[in-house]
Symmetry: C2
Subunit: 344 residues, 2 copies
Amino acid sequence: MAIRTTPSGSGRPGGGRVTLRTIAQMTGLSLSTVSLSLRGGTTLKQETRDKVAEAAKSLGYVPDRAGVRLRTGKTNVIALVLDGAEDSIDFARQMIQGIGQAIKGTRYHLTVIPEFERNISADTIRYVLDNRTADGVIITHTAPRDRRVQMMIDAEFPFVSHGRTEFFTAHPFYDFHSEVFATQAVDRLASKGCRHLMLVVGDDSTTNHHNIVTAFQRATARCGLEVRVLSGIQGMSPAEMRRMAIDLAREPGRPDGIICDSEMRTIALVGGLMEAGVHLGRDVHLIYKQTSGILPTLFPAVDSIREDVFAAGIELTQLLLRRIDGAPMESLQSLAEPQPQWRS
Amino acid sequence: MAIRTTPSGSGRPGGGRVTLRTIAQMTGLSLSTVSLSLRGGTTLKQETRDKVAEAAKSLGYVPDRAGVRLRTGKTNVIALVLDGAEDSIDFARQMIQGIGQAIKGTRYHLTVIPEFERNISADTIRYVLDNRTADGVIITHTAPRDRRVQMMIDAEFPFVSHGRTEFFTAHPFYDFHSEVFATQAVDRLASKGCRHLMLVVGDDSTTNHHNIVTAFQRATARCGLEVRVLSGIQGMSPAEMRRMAIDLAREPGRPDGIICDSEMRTIALVGGLMEAGVHLGRDVHLIYKQTSGILPTLFPAVDSIREDVFAAGIELTQLLLRRIDGAPMESLQSLAEPQPQWRS
DNA sequence: GAATTTAATTGCAACGTTGCATTCCTTGTG
DNA sequence: CACAAGGAATGCAACGTTGCAATTAAATTC
């Protein structure tokens, strides 16, 4: 029968939290020695180190985060600034899952800072910087001259961005290779016999947008295709987008190949086209950037090019952790190869 | 010219972080007085309190989280255990967004703990309990005798669940009223002239599952309808589900009304039915539980019943915060009314 | 004007950790 | 045998905060 169990009811016997002091008392060593030993002090006798390690293990010692943080300033936290965009379906879940996978077994926790308006997101970063709320930050949807990036570079604060920028100073990033994406998509559509391509790409504030459009234009010029670009439509609702697709379908000179970089917009597009009686894969060919399993489930025959967001989460985190440990920036940049999923 | 600016480059002039000591020096008061004042000590002279408040404001003082946490044990963190389920599309994003909305302006941060296997999620809770990692926890997908709930009740640890349980002891929860959902759906289909209903509902480990099935059976019995229940299919992949829908469509005695509680499964279902040539809204009527805007965008004519996950996140958080502040459990239980979206 | 009450402020210790400077204990050297 | 040199362990202060006990200042009483 356990007397004086903590009300917390934790599995720990004998009440109270296990601290360095507990181990010190148990081993008869001093606080400092225990601390030193646990952090691998090489000046300690092997026998002592073993004794400490054993005691720590048997007691299930875990260093107190607040104590460490107060003393060292290290938070053991990484922060994800979660953009509110819905373009990539299931993006948030997979990203978080990936980060979770990467920090598994480390002492890091993940705090998520949801963002409601993109244009105030510099405030978010300011807050983290001023209050040293995390050891590092992951941001997404970067712009060519992203203010947040600028701030963190200036502050020499560890971060990694999902997306490139145009800054001269190198910084860690991970990015989907949109140029390759656009090129692959154009080539594929051309090989299917398309002559008139349309690129649908929203959010013209991001670096990604610029990269896609440029690569699209280069590739189509090379193939000598007629083109149209529909961009800067981040404000357009799915319903409006759908409406637009219906109008498009009824146009005489409508495109016979469409490339779309957002799942959400693809869905609106497909909804509209279908309603207008367009037969996908015959009247119009479509290639979209795929991040979730939804569209393949619905339309197994439609081509897509996949970005693995879960893997992105893992990679972003690894880059960030290495950055926190002081690795050189140049070694912390990575581009993900698009994964074509041709379905026929 | 600022000498000794922090390398952090924060906007703060004169280097260094602002602490109670800074304010104490500035006002000529003692540390204790400043601390007391900031927490609203009523024994202080009004003049003093004003002086402190003013200094704090002008310096942009924010209490150090590590200091507070070490001293008081209060983490100012709430933890979301994020289930890996993909049933409700966009669930994670909206939930997090909702929580973010609810903690805006408070001192709380949100840490997200992604879960990879449901069956080890008790370990996650154990970890939080043992290490006092958060002041409160939000869990989802609760089971009737959920082990995590049991643990937290035993430990008297603040939490709130998205979903009810069958425990005798009251605990805070928020839940979608699935019984009403099932009843509404059955009534609607009956009114459309359906005679043979099928309920598709996965994950038979949750309380939600049980509630839906029971209500479905009661409602259909009342209307005297032929029924079929397809459940316990949480392991089935979208592709398999799709396949199954195709087979179903070709069955002679196939149902003429389907109720589905998962968007992901609805999509697989619809994909299969369409491929088999079934015309939704004529051959077969469908009602699904809607959490994202995807299906309405694709099929504006299909009925759905909506759960507002963003609102759920807000409500869950408010319940949790009140629980942390010691509100009585009985006042912390809330059921969300399903929102029918009849499209014709 | 001394004693007593009340109002206002403060010192001190503690939360758990770490890094530096110090002390203690061996062992080896002249 | 005294002394130095190294190896091994420890004491102390500090990170920023809070709660209590204690102190000081001001107001009231007799």
